[in-house]
Subunit: 196 residues, 2 copies
């Protein structure tokens, strides 16, 4: 998506060779027009897939996910990183997400009420790096007996393993911005999935 | 807002005398049509207030906040509960939020880049109970020298102190659903602010 690539070049900041700071328009302050254009692009990519639910993970995935859900007119569900007091032990599905940056494994949960075997799910998230968050969400979908239609990603770090890991599991990935390299403080792109 | 009150009655669940579970349409699974109608109602209430920024706190506030931001066509900023690796010590404002339910005090932060003294801020959050989250956000706004136009709340527990505490500080509160009581498993409402 050209608009997103432009904003990454103009407003993103490269920290070391693998950290891209996009907190002025993606994951701390959010540019609503850009976010809406991204949601529309996901809608175009998946509109024939009979999507019944949008699934993401708190917190940065929520803004794009609710806009996508509005376009599909289906519910959005966000997986939680802690168990709310209103959910009892046997009332949710649980999966593990390993964080390479923090070197810890966290559990994520979703209530059994909100994913079921009739669901065809589109996962939306802001970043794809090592793919662990998507694998955790995919695990929740499997546990519910639902099916995964695909994954919509705002920014993919193509130089990390996530894309490859997901494709080896035959998961369809649509990334609106694919970063080939951040070396020497410069952003180089691969062709985005919506441009193919 | 009648639609929200209907959904609270039909789909909400009362747990004890002060817990209302609305995770099927507000804060775990989200009904996108309802959320958009709520955002439109906030827009109508604050459209003449020269709002320049929407501020919320992760995670449940993000979905309503981004929809409101889209209508105002201004940036949305969400305060974070932990410090991202891309923010250095002196680059953010910090405030404390005391949680009565968990009996702990958490810090919330917002980058200094995203709130400034020209900003007129509308706070959006899903619940108002003791008002501590809004006070923390209001503190961040004060530290930035910005001004607070008001607070938009989806569900207010009017039997708790939050509303009173905010009004004593002359903060304008617009709650789309005001719960007078949850006693005996029944939801009783006060008149919502958008109905006045």
């Amino acid at each position: 998506m050209k608009l997103l690539e432009q904003m990454v070049v103009n407003d993103g900041k490269v920290y070391s060779n693998n950290v891209l700071k996009v907190d002025s328009f993606i994951n701390h302050q959010i540019d609503p027009k850009l976010m809406l254009e991204m949601a529309k692009t996901f809608y175009e990519q998946f509109k024939n897939d009979n999507i019944t639910k949008i699934l993401t993970i708190e917190a940065s995935g929520i803004a794009p996910a609710i806009l996508v859900a509005n376009l599909f007119n289906v519910p959005m569900v966000f997986a939680k990183k802690s168990v709310p007091s209103t959910l009892t032990r046997d009332s949710f599905y649980e999966a593990q997400v390993y964080s390479y940056t923090k070197n810890v494994t966290n559990n994520i949960i979703v209530s059994k009420d909100f994913l079921n075997k009739e669901d065809k799910v589109l996962i939306i998230d802001d970043f794809l790096a090592n793919g662990q968050a998507v694998l955790g969400l995919s695990d929740l979908i499997d546990k519910a007996g639902a099916s995964l239609a695909g994954v919509g990603i705002l920014i993919e770090k193509s130089f990390q393993d996530g894309r490859k890991i997901l494709e080896e599991k035959n998961i369809r990935v649509c990334s609106l911005c694919r970063i080939a390299s951040l070396e020497d403080g410069k952003v180089k792109f691969n062709k985005a999935d919506d441009e193919l």
